[in-house]
């Protein structure tokens, strides 16, 4: 059985084996870890969590590697969670992000962990958020989370991170389309990587012009209230607190978020990106938006956790067949959807 105080003590002291084991237990959904997480809760909330997302192959892992280097030069410790997709067919995964992060292998101020998306009930966020908390409790100053920006995951990242770095690259014809389809709103710092390739300046201009359009269209100071646009995951400190942020060197005078070029392979341009992330962090803290954002994210987490518990009840063989039978009732028109939900709700609660 887990010795809870001992496990918590080892995690607080940054023992990589203890961290690693706790994260596995979280990922495996092992209830044995819950008491440990509870014991650590008071030690969380200090790390700044940075999400790095963007299309496959855009250079996220290479960038994260360079972010880590930059942070280490600034005397900060870093935990990295690198998330890759699981195979929907076998449940297995090949996690290759670490290949690009080898230079820190022997640095005790760096912990790198690869995670697969698995079929987590209620999305990826739950397990990754808990894993990030473990790193936080272990005292890492920054936690970097890499996720692939396709499907659901980019929505998840905004629910995990204090600052989101959105990576894009030249030469992906429909890359910008991906950005247009709503993930534009989640970026706090925009990076156009592979600036050694043709077309980087054009991508920078396109992103800027899209951000300007969004600004002109009044992309909503509602984000400040933690409702409205914020519910979609957009948070736009740039839009919400223009005056407050420009004094921190984050974004430009018009409140537009930074759009920066990098060549991750050489590390060129990475310093200014980290500067922007740090300026964003300072601006969030100064304006009270950090708390706002965390309230919103924990709200999502609570909803997710509640949903998971309910789903877990349905996960028992009995409940699943109950659900199946109700689905059949709906298809066969014996009940409508609302009645079916009423029945389930009665039984679950």
């Amino acid at each position: 059985m887990t010795d809870v105080p001992e496990a918590a003590r080892r995690i607080r002291s940054g023992d990589p084996r203890a961290l690693a084991r706790a994260i596995s237990r979280i990922d495996d959904g092992d209830p044995a870890v819950i008491e440990v997480l509870k014991a650590l809760h008071a030690d969380t909330g200090r790390a700044h969590v940075v999400g790095v997302t963007g299309p496959p192959g855009s250079g996220k892992s290479t960038l994260v590697d360079k972010f880590v280097r930059e942070y280490r030069e600034r005397g900060l410790t870093v935990g990295v969670l690198a998330v890759d997709p699981s195979s929907p067919f076998t449940g297995g995964a090949i996690l290759g992000d670490r290949i690009r992060m080898q230079s820190h292998a022997l640095d005790e101020g760096v912990y790198i962990r690869s995670l697969a998306t698995r079929g987590h009930l209620g999305g990826l966020s739950g397990a990754v958020m808990e894993a990030a908390r473990v790193l936080d409790a272990a005292g890492f100053d920054r936690v970097l989370i890499e996720t692939v920006g396709v499907g659901q995951s980019e929505v998840d990242i905004v629910r995990l991170a204090d600052t989101v770095v959105l990576v894009s690259v030249p030469g992906l014809g429909d890359d910008i389309q991906v950005l247009k389809a709503g993930i534009m709103e989640i970026g706090d710092v925009f990076v156009v990587n592979k600036a050694d390739r043709d077309g980087a300046d054009r991508v920078v201009r396109e992103i800027r012009s899209m951000l300007e359009t969004a600004l002109v269209n009044g992309a909503s100071p509602r984000a400040l209230s933690g409702t409205g646009a914020a519910d979609r995951g957009g948070h736009h400190i740039a839009f919400a607190a223009r005056e407050a942020v420009s004094s921190h060197g984050y974004g430009d005078a018009h409140g537009l978020p930074p759009v920066l070029k990098t060549t991750a392979e050489t590390g060129e341009g990475v310093g200014p990106v980290v500067d922007s992330v740090e300026a964003h962090r300072a601006a969030l803290a100064e304006t009270g938006l950090l708390r706002e954002r965390r309230l919103r994210n924990v709200g999502y987490e609570l909803r997710g956790a509640l949903g998971n518990r309910l789903l877990a009840r349905l996960g028992t063989p009995d409940a699943v067949s109950r659900l199946d039978r109700l689905a059949e009732d709906v298809v066969e028109k014996r009940r409508d959807v609302y009645e079916a939900v009423d029945v389930l709700f009665e039984e679950l609660c």
Binding site: G92, L95, A116
Partner: protein, 131 residues
């Protein structure tokens, strides 16, 4: 609970080919395992550190360069220095029959030569996990 087997596939040594390592990585994934692939030219120190951080159940070492008699035991030595004794370590690649007893004595659980069906490796892992 959804306990997954986590395997670190690592290539110690200086040889520059990882086709074999990638074949085994894919086979393990297809068998439902989570495979952390770390790329070419890993030192034993890097491999052990990665295995700890990744909480690997298994380390699969793949080598073609001929330096296995040095590198494989070195991995075992570092693991025991760090007090890690619940990780299954297996090896593959081009390894002469004659070297196998020595490697097993050093703590490598099994050696899979070229042409071993991937199923043999998968079955071995499932049957010999240390935790």
């Amino acid at each position: 609970m959804d306990r997954k087997i986590r395997v670190l596939v690592a290539k110690p040594g200086l040889d520059g080919h990882d086709r074999g390592a990638k074949v085994i990585a894919r086979a393990l994934r297809d068998a439902g395992m989570e495979v952390v692939y770390t790329g070419l030219r890993q030192t034993p120190e890097q491999i052990v550190q990665a295995a700890i951080q990744e909480d690997a159940d298994v380390i699969a070492l793949s080598i073609l360069s001929g330096a296995h008699n040095h590198l494989f035991p070195r991995v075992m030595e570092l693991l025991s220095e760090k007090g890690v004794n619940d990780v299954l370590v297996i090896g593959g690649g081009v390894i002469p029959e004659d070297d196998i007893p020595f490697l097993k004595k050093a703590g490598i659980a099994e050696i899979f030569g070229p042409g071993t069906p991937t199923k043999a490796t998968i079955d071995f892992i499932r049957a010999n996990l240390k935790r």
